[in-house]
Symmetry: C2
Subunit: 425 residues, 2 copies
């Protein structure tokens, strides 16, 4: 088979070259070899460490990437390694050689999105990555296909399982952040270097990918507002419990009245009426809002070897009928762009009041000072959050209020003023 | 274009012949004509009543079905009429002529499933019907594609919006069944002849379709156990409130330990821990359980013109890249069959104790007699429910208990006996 020959439905078998043989890779191997109807087999597995004891014969393995990439009988590369830079080189070469590629590496995909898109176009080959967003949940494909023609208004969800597990423990067991993190690490829900998760970077990478498939916007990670959950302190959870809120790290993308798109990843107070309230532990969830379909809510396991393997399998299965992402929204809706021209209603708490840049706030609705802790509720322009980083420093936490996005601030200002005049506030 | 020529990706336009111009058809027309990127247009619309005032020019309409079916330039038939028999004739002819077909008619599809499947195979054309199950929610396609290679263990959900609306009103507003039904009819959530919904038939039709796409089982409606919600009486809702349960009409399909499949549609007591508890009013929901992906929960609007139109649109969009259901599970998993060889834990209430066939119950765990009402909790073999209809007669309601399916009854019998011996029960 020439490397550029497309995979034909129901005729050719998929011959897979697999990079990585961790828990996901091994699970995938077992399933493919016990399910002949998939008509897919793994020809060779590329690993980093040949000394490591493996559950299958040594002849299956190689440490030479080119043995897979140059093998013309291999028409699918499945990339399941941690190292984002190495993954990028593998995926790029495979696409250039006209092989179909399946990957779960959100960091690599988000950072190189534009180039990987161009490679797919140039070499007319498929690059699928369902496992990169919310593990087992069929999110990418549904956003790509199902909400194509419907007028999608917003997506909003919990897309990082580690932080959600930590937040659940903080709230249910009243643990301190550090205790909850340590528990998550013991249980394998967080990496030994957890910065990627708790700093919000992983959720940002995923939102970056979702923006392309939901709204046709290519936005590099870091071009929209985000924070993680590291600064959430005990008084914040106390405040949440008092108000019967739950704290969640929420990824948001929302069409604004000006036609542009607001996008951010921030902790939020979530009420019991919000579907995200019930999403606990390592579960992920996504709410889509669209003109015709109204609200859809999806919930599933967002992390773990088996959920990830199941998404990889689904991509492999889709290759059998030549499925490719069409990126229709990117090519047809070029006018959609990110914007920070909106306001957010926020809760800000701190151990030192001088850390808060009050000049950045439009107005303050509540203000409480305690001996070693202060907090306020106010409204801030998103551009000011994007421009400054005082709200991310140690000892300051910023948590969105329920329904945080305000577009029509003039109206709010007037109604606030009229309440003041009436002596109500 | 010859009628058998397949629709090519990104080249040919879809030229649609539309049957029916009710709210869904009209919504679809408006969207297709205001979204040029869809590259689809409606050439002609076949209606029953030419006298009715329409919002678009008369030249778009015809009452002659053959004007659409014989038009070789029309490559897609979209069928959105109520009459299941007329719909069947239209769809059959269209498939025979090699046209792709999109339909929302669950009754027609469920009743003629095997024949419509054979027609698709013979004429190598696409027949898509996402709108037939849970309206806007992308259920059929996800079951067909996403859970293909994963080992699906069960599906379980609320798949009829009218009955869920009625049950919500009974419980939240403490209405009698008849009052709630009348309210649903006033609001357009139930037909003037509501038997199809409240008798459970609509949910049965949908489960029949879902069985094919989830487990590869072709089961005509009526070949599995079902009832509706007509017999649910005030004492049942009182009992639900006392136990903090919600009553839902739940469709179930579950792999048994014997490898066969249990399938039934019955009212159920649902606990607050169950995801279905929060599914209210006209919303639908589905929970999938599978070996690798674990549990997925989907919720969305299961009825209404716009949600239905959005699913039809998604099918039309899928036709642009030649999408067809592959029915992989039907062709590869022929051994899966329905079975009634399992037990159900049930709550049965009645206005007349002689209506209950006690001989059909394996055992009774609770028994309460009040002046005009009695109820019991017991265990019944599914085959006995399938064989008899005493539990469906007026004045008797049967509601499943939480976690109703029992497979290992011997163990339960022994533990029950040991409790009796110990004097516990």
């Amino acid at each position: 088979m020439s490397p550029n020959k497309p995979i034909n439905e129901s005729t050719d078998k998929l011959t897979i070259g697999l990079f990585g043989f961790g828990v996901v890779g091994k699970g995938l191997y077992d399933v493919l070899h016990s399910t002949p109807t998939l008509r897919s087999s793994i020809k060779k597995i590329c690993i980093k460490n040949p000394e490591k004891k493996r559950s299958i014969a040594a002849e299956h393995f190689t440490t030479d990437a080119s043995a897979l990439l140059n093998d013309e009988s291999i028409n699918v590369i499945v990339e399941l390694i941690d190292d984002a830079d190495a993954a990028y080189r593998i995926v790029k070469t495979a696409l250039q050689k006209g092989k179909a590629v399946v990957s779960a590496n959100k960091k690599m995909i988000a950072e190189h999105f534009e180039e990987l898109l161009a490679l797919q176009q140039r070499h007319k080959t498929a690059f699928l990555y369902e496992a990169a967003c919310c593990a087992s949940m069929p999110i990418v494909r549904n956003l790509e296909e199902y909400y194509d023609n419907d007028l999608l208004k917003s997506i909003r969800g919990i897309i990082n399982g580690s932080t959600n597990y930590i937040l659940t423990r903080i709230q249910e067991d009243q643990l301190e952040f550090k205790e909850a993190l340590s528990l998550a690490q013991q249980l394998g829900f967080a990496e030994s270097n957890p910065k990627l998760d708790i700093g919000g970077f992983d959720a940002v990478n995923k939102l970056s990918i979702l923006l392309a498939h939901s709204f046709g916007v290519i936005a590099k990670p870091g071009t929209f507002i985000f924070s993680g959950i590291e600064n959430i302190a005990s008084p914040d959870s106390v405040r949440a419990r008092e108000k019967q809120y739950s704290i969640k790290l929420v990824a948001n993308a929302k069409k604004l009245n000006n036609g542009k798109l607001a996008a951010f990843v921030l902790p939020q107070f979530v009420t019991a009426k919000d579907e995200l309230y019930q999403v606990e532990n390592e579960f992920n969830a996504l709410i889509t809002e669209s003109t015709f379909a109204d609200r859809h809510f999806f919930k599933g396991k967002g992390a773990g070897a088996f959920p990830t393997a199941s998404a990889v399998l689904s991509d492999i299965s889709a290759l059998r009928y030549n499925y490719k992402y069409e990126y229709k929204k990117i090519f047809h809706q070029r006018d959609t762009a990110l914007s920070n021209d909106f306001y957010l209603k926020v809760f800000i708490s701190t151990d030192d009041i001088t850390k808060i840049s009050k000049a950045d706030l439009e107005w303050i609705e509540e203000w409480h000072n305690e001996i070693s802790h202060s907090w306020l509720i106010g409204v801030v322009h998103a551009e000011k959050l994007a421009a400054g980083d005082w709200w991310k420093q140690d000892g300051v936490s910023l948590i969105l209020c329920p329904d945080p996005v305000i577009e029509d601030i003039e109206y709010r200002k007037i109604s606030k003023r009229s309440l003041e005049l009436a002596g109500v506030v």
